[in-house]
């Protein structure tokens, strides 16, 4: 899932073993998701789909995977193709883990293999139409996993819990005292520093940002978000945080915001209508969740 997982459950003293069991169950659920959807595991469903790219062979998929793909398709449609789960092959040029890039002249050929419309779905399952194509659900699975862990806590009867999965957070209810959960949004340029604190009650916050994953070209910093149309990284917000009732929706809106440029990002965020915070490359905060936003000048009584 690309980061640490942390579960917090507030419970009665005689529920300790039940809470531990709920955490173990949530962990198992996340491991199961990773086993199915990780592109780093050769035995995952995603790797199997990718291996069969261009062969004309179908990979059978379960209802949950089909629903997750359906969500990706909706997001692809709504984002005018900016969110594209097939854009992962562009990383063959852009190596964000090492902060360097390869042969940029390969981008046109790679872009030709990118495109959700080249993903075929039928009763038999899913197939990638072109050899060399890759499907990567990393952009949604972590957030979905956080929601799924939260749901497993609710099903186990724990309605005061917090799930943090690599920076994405789901609050199950409030604290037992009735007070909301307090969570912090990190400063992208100094991740140990909390820039904004948020109160969550039965809601989720997801953050997309470049943090330490970026490339500098000619002194210009580029985020790890890749425009599937051009193949180039997008040089916009350092991070975008969204609050929604599901982490999946919050993460999706945040990711697409990071893929937009300039005013388009603001338009997208305003259209979504969810509380948002955008932190620019130089640390400036904008959006309804920004400390200086007029919306925060409210009467709490």
């Amino acid at each position: 899932m690309g980061g640490p997982a942390r579960f917090v459950i507030e419970h009665l003293s005689d529920q300790t073993s039940g809470a531990r069991a709920a955490c173990q169950r949530a962990e198992t659920l996340l491991q199961a998701l990773e086993a199915r959807f990780s592109r780093y595991r050769s035995d995952s469903l995603i790797s199997q789909i990718n291996r069969l790219a261009g062969t004309g062979e179908w990979t059978c998929i379960d209802e949950e995977t089909r629903a997750l793909l359906q969500f990706c398709e909706r997001l692809w449609e709504q984002s005018q193709g900016l969110f594209d789960p097939t854009a992962g092959i562009l990383r063959q040029v852009w190596d964000f883990s090492q902060g360097r890039h390869g042969d940029i002249t390969k981008l046109p050929n790679l872009c030709a293999k990118v495109g959700w419309s080249k993903v075929l779905q039928s009763d038999q399952g899913i197939a990638l139409s072109h050899a060399g194509m890759e499907l990567d659900l990393g952009g949604v699975v972590k957030e979905y996993g956080a929601d799924k862990a939260a749901q497993s806590f609710r099903e186990a009867g724990f309605n005061h819990a917090l799930i943090e999965l690599a920076g994405d957070i789901v609050a199950v209810g409030s604290k037992t005292s009735g007070a909301p959960w307090l969570v912090g949004i990190s400063n992208p340029s100094a991740p140990s520093e909390t820039l904004v604190s948020l109160e969550l009650n039965n809601s989720a916050v997801a953050t997309s940002g470049d943090y330490q994953r970026y490339i500098e070209i000619d002194g210009q910093r580029y985020s790890h978000f890749l425009n599937p149309h051009t193949g180039w990284p997008v040089n916009e917000a350092a991070s975008v945080s969204i609050i929604s009732d599901s982490c999946l929706t919050a993460g999706a809106v945040a990711t697409v915001a990071c893929l937009h440029s300039g005013e388009d990002a603001t338009t997208w965020l305003n259209d979504a209508g969810l509380p948002w915070l955008s932190i620019g490359q130089t640390g400036e905060c904008t959006g309804p969740l920004a400390p200086a936003h007029p919306a925060n000048d409210i009467d709490r009584n």
């Binding site: 629903a67 099903e155 109160e199 009650n201 999946l248 209508g273 509380p275």
Partner: protein, 396 residues
Amino acid sequence: MAVIERGVKNAHSASTIKQSPLVRTLGAAVAALPAYQNTYADAPPEFTEVGLRYSHYSEDSLSEDKFIAGARGRYDIDVTQLWIEAPIGSNWSIAVDVQNDSMSGASPWFVGTQVDGQPGVIMSGASIYDNRVEVGATTRYFWADGNAGFNVTHSKEDDYEALAMAFDVAWNSADNARTWSASASTSNDRVEPVNGNIPVFIDQEDIDTASVYFGVSQILSSTAIVRIGLGYTFSEGYLSDPYKLFDARPDEHSRTALSGGYRKFFPEAQGALQIDYRYYSDDWGTDSHTAEVAWHQSFDRFALTPYLRYYSQREADFFSVIADLEQDFYADDFRLSSYGAITVGLRSTVQIGDWQMEGQLERYESDNDWGLYDGEAAPALVNFWRATIGISWRFD
């Protein structure tokens, strides 16, 4: 005005987060995922839906051995329904429903004695024709934890006019596993029977009705849900049937109904078991049990639902096969007798793109011997067929 502590934002909860069209579009896809099927917030319909449905209801003719005079052919009713439902903004929806019923045929007028001493039915004479038009409008508000609707319906036919209003609300528990629902409705009906094949003895009468309902549904697991509800209805006014010769009913009627249901989805079979039960009791001495079992089977874009319903009713205190005119209240209406009934039916739907086709066929048969309660058999008990076809279209 107090300024909040710098950097700490007001608490954000699912119930305060608005649903923009973009988020609702994504939300529809989110709701299909297993992790959210128990939890996703209420939201208006994502699409506008327009539908047209036609039903034909046909009662069997009265059998020769129970017939004394009049016309043996009973009611045929053609029902045509047109509806539209559309979201308005991010929190509202509106629905308009127009229905036309065309009725023809004869109905039981009274029960007398045949030459062999057995009761027999005197039917209204030649076929009666009537047309009813009903128009209803519902507006509904959705918030994260529930929804509330307000409905106004007007119905008009040659001899009957009704205006009804209803308010309903449903809200979900914090964990979304439980939904409470409540409704209240009122109607004012005006009866102006028309002198035709049979004489009528009133010019104009009114009926006022008020109903309340409270129910709760509980998700038991990711594949099972149970619900229970209690309803109460009170009517006052002219509650007799003006088209029956011997029919004098009390001018007040209190009814209570307790209902429950259970749904269990079987993922391996892509099917769901549906069990429903309803107990009804009123202050006319009638009580009844209704039990229904159905199996909903999905085949990708096609679904079939066979169902079986059993009904049993105890007769009203003032019912007798041949009306006892010595009593203050009396009636020979078969609908107030003791009997049992079985309905067998099949519903199907086919989804093709944004279009959905539906079809339904059911057979209803009733018999005094099938009931759980004692009581003499009413000769006019009815059997009927009902067939329905429909088509609906969803668009952005």
